[in-house]
């Protein structure tokens, strides 16, 4: 089974690159959703079945795969924007950077010893790569939506790592984390709406009133 898990993790990393490459917001939202679903499936592949596990799977898929994409999609719809125009750093270069970061994350994973049962899994590099991808999106994109997406990708990356410890993690904590994430995204959605209303655009590069001269 774990082989399949690895393939899924590779898929996750590919999705990262895709997201770095695309400019269409709706598309990247869908991509995040897919990532979320994959995250939902993964624990079932590496852990024996349990009620706890089922709960987690359901929760993750529900939250990351359905609710959150819906919330953001809503925001996009309200803000009536299609694509991310001229990011701070171009797509090709971000793509390259993404590739570099993925490589780096493998190096990082090498440095840190894994538990024997995780030795041959790609969890660590995948999670780090995803994290860095999220960071890349956060720092290079202009649109508020894209930044939310970046944040989500980061979260996904963290979850990927979290999957190593699913049974270690008490339900309460995971549920709480998910819930917080949900509420966070929800609030961000609202804020984005307000932004688009205030500035008639969600181009965050315009949010520069607050600074020191």
């Amino acid at each position: 089974m774990s082989a399949f898990a690895d393939q899924l993790l590779v898929l996750v990393m590919l999705i990262n690159l895709v997201m770095l490459g695309t400019s269409r917001l709706v598309f990247s939202i869908r991509a995040v959703a897919v990532q979320g679903v994959i995250l939902g499936i993964l624990p079932g592949l590496i852990n024996p079945f349990s009620g706890h596990l089922a709960g987690i799977t359901a929760g993750i898929i529900l939250a990351k795969g359905i609710v959150i994409p819906y919330l953001i999609g809503n925001a996009v719809h309200k803000a009536q924007i299609r694509r991310e125009v001229e990011p701070f750093i171009g797509y090709v270069s971000t793509l390259l950077l993404g590739a570099v970061f993925t490589a780096l994350s493998f190096a990082f994973a090498e440095k840190l010893p894994l538990a024997p049962e995780h030795k041959d899994l790609l969890f660590v590099p995948a999670s780090i790569a995803t994290l860095l991808t999220g960071f890349l999106i956060l720092t290079t994109r202009r649109k508020a939506i894209s930044q939310v997406i970046g944040y989500l990708v980061m979260e996904n990356g963290i979850f990927v790592f979290g999957l190593l410890l699913t049974e270690a993690m008490p339900v309460m904590v995971e549920a709480g984390a998910l819930l917080d994430l949900l509420v966070g995204i929800f609030v961000m959605g609202i804020v984005i709406n307000h932004i688009s209303r205030e500035f008639s655009s969600i181009d965050t590069s315009r949010l520069r009133a607050l600074k020191e001269e």
């Binding site: 956060l138 720092t139 930044q147 965050t204 590069s205 520069r208 600074k211 020191e212």
Partner: protein, 661 residues
């Protein structure tokens, strides 16, 4: 023993009363009543304090109080000794006088700020008492900072005016920075002794790791408060813009707290590095000369007095320096005379400087201005004030038969004696310096007294000035009498300082008497009396002669010019111009010469003249400007771009990762 309490207890009670004295004024509906209560309380407290001083001079031992407060700095310790006494005597005397004076000078019936002022005045005095009796570093720091802050609130009483605001800010920044130096000092002391409690005197070896650092930080922190050059820049403005009775306390008492701090710190060490004495001596000499030079050029009555405070502090430090040098070179005369001179001058300056500041308050009250050149002829309308002011001026010039002379006499004798006998010829060079300072002081105060009180009024306000009320004159008279008494019989002063000199310079009593026998005290008294008698006789003869003869009145001889107007009189500025030109490098006057226009008849032209505040205007302001410029570049880091902020976060993460691998 007919005293009910022992000294420290008296002092602590006095401090408590002082601190609480202003509270009724804040709470009561009738502010004037509150102010009266406060004045009464302060007088009572001062009396208690003086009782304690008398006890201590009488040699009765002071108790050591230990309060286990819940702060992590060890127990709070209070005690007092001879070193404290010498500062406490003028402290209580002046405080009492000021509180009575303020009833008339800053009456709550007219001044809405009186309540606040009275409160902080009490707090100020109490804090100073605590500073002197504190025996724990942090307790000392707290008292110190409370003193500094209440002084700030006192001097910004008229906070509406921008000038007051400015000098207040400068003062606050200066004193806070100084306090930081003290933070370091007491921390180092703590790390050497292992406790915040003051070490016993002469308990620390000079070879301790941080000895030098401790002394330097003490010189910076305390010297700044004392107004030692070049840390004096806050002083003239602050003293000039505070209400006069506040200036009296700040100049007469607060500056001395800086001196106390240094003396206390130095007393911890059994022996001091050689350079300390010389450094202090040089700083003192520098302050004395520059201070009086600055004073000469001033046009603002209170600024002038403030600058002369710098001079007097300088003289005090000269004394201390001489003593330290003497200790190093085992020159007992130098030690005894230097210390005696310093301590006597500490007391004297407290007396006559307060007298002069209170007098300037009376002047401002009467003539409504601080500009020397707008006054004149006030002696006719303010006879009492003018007389008292004359006493103060003579005293501050160090002229016999007043008290100012005594302290300087000790310094002269000390320096010359060891200059001519002991291996310290260089010490003798102090005498000419003092002589120069004395000469400049005469210029300054002749100008001050002559231009303000004599001649004819230069402004309408001066012409309609009025004598101050009894509440204001009473305290001044008391101070003047003290000056006169101390001057006529210097033994009083010597008796005052004998114990502290013995305690501080740890010189045996017989040696003290032997050394101070060099100083002609009895002859001085004799000469003083002779001087007075002679003056009276000649005066009497002269007056009798005048009675007999005709004495017609006329205008002043104008050298043929028959219509002299007040504006034709010599002004203070023109009086001091000659010497200011000689001292140009120190005083650095700023002139704007008039440009004469007009073909036949010259048109109106303006002439501006001001004495610059050298350190502040030419050193600090530029530095601040450049630093501010540098900061404004750094401030670009907060540029408002979210994605770069993100970058900061990850950069930090990255750096930490790299740094540790």
């Amino acid at each position: 023993m007919f005293f009910f309490l022992e000294p420290t207890a008296y002092l602590l009670t006095a401090a408590t009363i002082l601190a609480a004295s202003g509270v009724p004024g804040l709470l009561l509906r009738a502010p004037l009543f509150g102010q009266r209560i406060a004045a009464f309380a302060v007088v009572i407290a001062s009396l208690l304090g003086e009782i304690a001083v008398i006890q201590l001079l009488g040699g009765s031992p002071a108790a050591f109080y230990q309060v286990d407060w819940p702060l992590p700095f060890g127990p709070a310790l209070f005690s007092t000794d001879h070193l404290s006494t010498i500062f406490l005597f003028p402290l209580f005397l002046v405080t009492g006088c000021v509180s009575v004076y303020s009833l008339a000078y800053w009456p709550a019936s007219e001044q809405s700020s009186a309540g606040k002022l009275t409160f902080f005045l009490g707090l100020f005095a109490a804090a100073m008492v605590l500073v002197v009796v504190a025996r724990n570093g942090v307790l000392f720091l707290m008292a110190w900072e409370v003193m500094a802050l209440s002084a700030y609130f006192l001097l910004t009483t008229e906070q509406q005016s921008s000038a007051v605001q400015r000098v207040g800010t400068v003062y606050l920044l200066a004193t806070h920075t100084g306090t930081m130096a003290l933070f370091v000092m007491f921390s180092l002391l703590r790390s050497t002794t292992g406790t915040f409690a003051f070490p016993a005197s002469h308990a620390l070896a000079q070879t301790l790791p941080y000895a030098t650092l401790i002394i330097v930080t003490a010189l910076v922190g305390f010297g700044g408060k004392a107004g030692l050059m070049p840390l004096h820049f806050w002083l003239p403005g602050a003293h000039a813009n505070a209400p006069s009775h506040v200036s009296a306390m700040m100049s007469g008492l607060m500056l001395k707290m800086g001196v106390y701090g240094i003396l206390r710190t130095l007393s911890f060490f059994v022996a001091l590095p050689v350079w300390v004495g010389w450094v202090i001596l040089l700083l003192g000499a520098w302050s004395a000369v520059n201070g009086i030079a600055l004073a000469t050029g001033q046009r603002d009555l209170k600024r002038l007095l403030a600058c002369s405070s710098i001079e007097n502090i300088g003289i005090i430090f000269i004394g201390i320096g001489l003593a330290l040098v003497g200790i190093q070179a085992h020159a007992p005369y130098l030690v005894v005379c230097g210390l005696s001179g310093a301590f006597i001058h500490i007391v004297n300056h407290g007396l006559f400087k307060s007298l002069l500041f209170l007098g300037s308050g009376a002047l401002i009250h009467g003539a409504g201005t601080r500009e020397i050149d707008r006054m004149g002829g006030l002696a006719r309308r303010m006879p009492i004030t003018s007389t008292l002011f004359l006493v103060g001026s003579l005293a501050i010039c160090g002229l016999p038969p007043l008290n100012g002379f005594v302290g300087e006499l000790f310094l002269y004798v000390g320096s010359i004696t060891d200059g001519i006998t002991a291996p310290l010829p260089l010490a003798a060079l102090v005498a000419p310096v003092l002589a120069l300072v004395g000469g400049l002081a005469v210029i300054t105060f002749v100008k001050l007294y002559g231009i303000i009180f004599l001649g004819t009024p230069r402004s309408a306000a001066a012409a309609h000035s009025h004598e101050a009320s009894g509440f204001m004159n009473g305290p001044m008279i008391l101070l003047a009498i003290c000056c006169l008494a101390a001057g006529m019989s210097p033994q009083l002063l010597v008796r005052l300082v004998t114990p502290v000199v013995g305690f501080y310079g740890d010189v045996a009593g017989d040696l003290f008497t032997q050394a101070s026998s060099q100083v002609p005290l009895l002859p001085l008294t004799f000469v003083n009396i002779l001087l007075v008698i002679l003056t009276l006789i000649i005066g009497a003869v002269y007056l009798v002669r005048l009675r007999g003869s005709s004495q017609p009145r006329s205008t002043t001889w104008g050298c043929g010019y028959l219509e002299p107007t007040p504006r034709m009189q010599y002004t203070g500025t023109s009086f001091s111009e000659l010497v200011v030109n000689l001292l140009g490098t120190i005083v650095a006057p700023r002139r704007e010469r008039p440009v004469m226009t007009g073909v036949i008849l010259p048109r109106k032209a303006a002439f501006h003249y001001a004495v610059t505040e050298t350190v502040l205007d030419r050193v600090l302001s530029p530095i601040f400007h450049w630093i501010g410029l540098g900061f404004s570049y750094l401030r670009k880091l907060q540029h408002g771009q979210l994605h770069i902020y993100m970058l900061y976060i990850f950069a930090t993460l990255f750096v930490l990762m790299i740094w540790t691998h």
